[in-house]
């Protein structure tokens, strides 16, 4: 069992979670992910490692309530424990010194961006952050990004904070204000990564993305996580999760992410109904 040390809702439906998992904490590096399972009937949930405190054996995760399992996890608090935490998984090539790096996070995608931004900074790069969300409330890790980066740009879809528009608008702006960009890291929802990759293509910038494919084992055993990169089938869990964005078939990725949409809806509805419990039944009667 892996005890939960802290859980806090940092934005509506987005939670920060600290869990004790000594071995993972001592090994996880920026770019790694873990797979967790809540209980005997639970599914295996992949989440990127946001940070660690190896001395205390703690692992920092951030997740958004997007379905039944994450809604259930949102109900966990200190005193509860996860049944399984396995990792670190995935390849985590150390970030070297490349010059100026743009670290672009969209929505909850800012969570996996932060550890990479910190690593790029520690490696001696100039790091420019771009953080976007639908609205002001959903912007996360702004302070941490500001502490890490040389400069952070914010944007929201509705203009409630920062630039009124998309992260893609800010990529050329950052380049104009800070000179040549050597590398871009963009992580977020598929449409956002796809748009960021297209923009970087226009600007001739190399861009890395981190893919959130569906997974089962996370160790290369099932192929559920396969994606087409550069025309070749790759497994996100063992060949990624980070890939050269220009090579990724995002259309296929979005279709594969929708594979269980109906089942996910059913599970979420059942969970919500059960949570309401008696209330529903009373009304029915």
């Amino acid at each position: 069992m892996f005890p939960i040390i802290a859980r806090r809702e940092i934005a509506p439906g987005i939670h920060s979670l600290w869990v004790k998992a000594d071995r993972v904490a001592s090994k996880a590096r920026p770019g790694h992910f873990v797979i967790l399972r809540l209980h005997e009937r639970g599914e295996r949930i992949p989440l990127t490692v946001v940070g660690t405190e190896p001395e205390k054996g703690l692992v920092w995760l951030i997740f958004q309530e997007v379905g039944k399992s994450t809604a259930e996890l949102a109900g966990y608090s200190p005193g509860d424990a996860l049944l399984d935490v396995v990792g670190p998984l995935g390849q985590a090539e150390p970030a070297g010194k490349v010059g100026t790096v743009l670290c672009v996070g969209g929505g909850v995608g800012t969570a996996p961006v932060l550890p990479r931004a910190r690593e790029f900074k520690a490696a001696g790069n100039r790091v420019i952050g771009i953080v976007g969300a639908r609205n002001r409330d959903l912007l996360i890790l702004g302070r941490e990004m500001e502490e890490t980066c040389d400069r952070v740009y914010f944007c929201t879809d509705d203009g409630s904070f920062g630039h009124h528009g998309l992260v893609t608008d800010l990529i050329p702006l950052a380049q104009a204000e800070h000179g040549p960009v050597d590398r871009v890291l963009a992580i977020g929802p598929v449409p956002m990564m796809r748009a960021a990759v297209a923009k970087c293509g226009e600007l001739g910038l190399p861009v890395t993305v981190s893919l959130n494919a569906l997974m089962v084992d996370g160790t290369g055993m099932c192929g559920a996580c396969r994606v087409t990169v550069g025309g070749v089938t790759r497994f996100t869990c063992v060949d990624g999760p980070e890939f050269d964005g220009a090579q990724v078939d995002f259309g296929e990725l979005s279709a594969r992410l929708r594979q269980y949409a109906a089942e996910e809806r059913l599970a979420a509805e059942r969970f919500a109904a059960r949570r309401k419990g008696g209330e529903c039944q009373c009304r029915g009667a």
Binding site: E43, D84, V86, G87, D217, T219, G220, V238, Y260, E263
Partner: protein, 472 residues
């Protein structure tokens, strides 16, 4: 002379709707009668067909005397996982093929008898399948083992790893098995379905290992969660690697990443390990669809097809590029599949998977084949019949065409030599290029059978023992 006993089974019409074990096991009466058919040969040929040299003649003799407990004890001297072997070993090409009765087509049902001993030989066992769970006595050698010998790590809890662990524990070593998934058993857990190997049987065998003092630690990916260096630092003196052939091959045709295309590993893992057949009571979904094509002809293909049927598919087809004679699956499993209504399409090779605008599979295009000259494997090579293509309308395609070696341990273990095929290279003692690190099973040989992996695990345990005793 009476003929070979038939294994009682659930009727096909019933069993295709449930996940309960198909083969019900011999009754004591049937078992004794079958055991008494054994000629008790002076030089029994059967044992030469057994990769782990189970004393077949002796244990069958004991069953014939009505003493399954003694029979089980004898088996356990050589094989600590008889309830599993009795169920999944391909006896028809091993021990039973060598039986003198085989010439008459009626070999002794050695597998069924081994299972009988495992299920009934334990104290107060009465029902098949649950017998081993109530087993009272640990394996015989446990009491004689010298305690507190060196620590040995086993990587992977599949057939090779479990067997190596058991043997090492019997030699008195303190063994820890590391498993990357959340439950132990490897392919016995995620691959072989409940209806062929009930999880309760596996759990009971695992409990037996724990009673021998073996520790099993799940959620550990050796190479990532702990490295080989860490294992040496933690005080392990030797390591056995049995990480298996876990990397699924896909068909290599257009459309292989459409929704509705599964590797057999994924399909079976969702069903077996994640219990997706109970969704939404469990959280992992599975999409079976109404019409399912399983590509391949081995046991994994049969398991996938029969699982799809039980998950509610209306039509399940096996698509195989050679003919019935070349099917690599066990004959028994092919018969079971046919009885349950699985359709076989022989001499057809997939050329393309067709999808709709949402990226969902709608059909499998196949090319008709005919058998030509024998290839390197000695089987006649299938060659395309020009112009003979066909689209089979399906919702789901399951690729069961084999697996490559799991790459993780290899990737994260510097200095570990591999073969051209990506398997771990070992010397004649099963030792890898790293001193003290041994490997066996599918990670060395490529995908093979449960019992061969067990044999390799057992052999490696002996070599590890020799190495640690300074004899190697």
């Amino acid at each position: 002379m009476p003929g070979r006993v038939a294994m009682p089974k659930q009727p096909p019409g019933e069993r295709r709707k449930n996940f309960r074990e198909v083969a019900l096991g011999l009754t004591p009466e049937l078992a004794v009668a079958e055991a008494r058919r054994c000629l008790q040969c002076k030089n029994p040929p059967c044992v030469t067909g057994c990769p782990v040299q189970v004393p077949i003649k002796e244990f069958i003799g004991l069953i014939g005397q009505g003493d399954p407990a003694a029979a089980l004890k004898r088996i356990r001297e050589k094989n600590l996982l008889p309830a599993i072997c009795g169920r999944v070993c391909p006896q028809e090409v091993q021990c039973e093929a060598k039986c003198v009765w085989a010439k008459k087509g009626e070999p002794i049902a050695i597998g069924a008898l081994e299972r009988f001993a495992a299920d009934h030989g334990a104290a107060d066992a009465a029902q098949p399948g649950r017998a081993v769970a109530s087993e009272a006595s640990p394996a015989p050698a446990a009491s004689t083992a010298r305690p507190s010998r060196a620590r040995v790590a086993v990587v992977g809890s599949g057939p090779a790893g479990l067997t190596a662990a058991a043997e090492l524990a019997r030699h008195g070593y303190r063994v820890t098995v590391f498993e990357s998934l959340h439950a132990a058993g490897g392919v016995l857990r995620y691959g072989i379905p409940e209806f062929r190997l009930p999880k309760s049987v596996l759990d009971a065998e695992l409990d037996g290992l724990r009673r021998l003092g073996v520790e099993i630690e799940c959620d550990v990916v050796v190479g990532q969660t702990v490295t080989l260096e860490d294992l040496w630092a933690e005080g392990f003196r030797a390591v056995f690697v049995g990480t298996g052939a876990g990397l699924p091959h896909f068909l290599g045709v257009a459309g292989e990443n459409l929704n509705g295309v599964y590797s057999a590993n994924e399909f079976l893992t969702r069903a077996n390990l994640m219990r997706a057949y109970e969704f939404p009571e469990t959280d992992t979904p599975i999409r079976t669809g109404r019409r399912v094509a399983v590509v391949g002809g081995g046991n994994v293909a049969m398991d996938s097809a029969r699982t799809a049927l039980r998950l509610g598919a209306e039509q399940v087809m096996i698509v195989y590029r050679r003919s019935r004679e070349e099917l690599p699956a066990r004959r028994e499993e092919v018969e079971n599949a046919e009885e349950e209504g699985i359709e076989f399409r022989f001499l057809q090779a997939p050329t393309r998977i067709l999808g709709d605008e949402r990226g969902q599979v709608v059909g499998l295009e196949v090319q008709r084949m005919e058998l030509g000259e024998p290839d390197a494997s000695g089987r006649r090579r299938p060659v395309p019949v020009p112009g003979a293509e066909e689209v089979i309308p399906v919702d789901t395609v399951i690729s069961a065409i084999g697996q490559g070696p799991n790459p993780l341990f290899i990737r994260y273990t510097p200095g570990l030599a591999t073969t051209a095929g990506g398997q771990i290279a070992v010397d004649e003692n099963g030792e890898t290029s790293l001193r003290g690190v041994f490997a066996g099973g599918d990670i060395v040989t490529g995908a093979a059978t449960v019992i061969l992996a067990m044999g390799a695990g057992k052999e490696a345990a002996h070599q590890i023992h020799r190495r640690l005793e300074g004899q190697l």
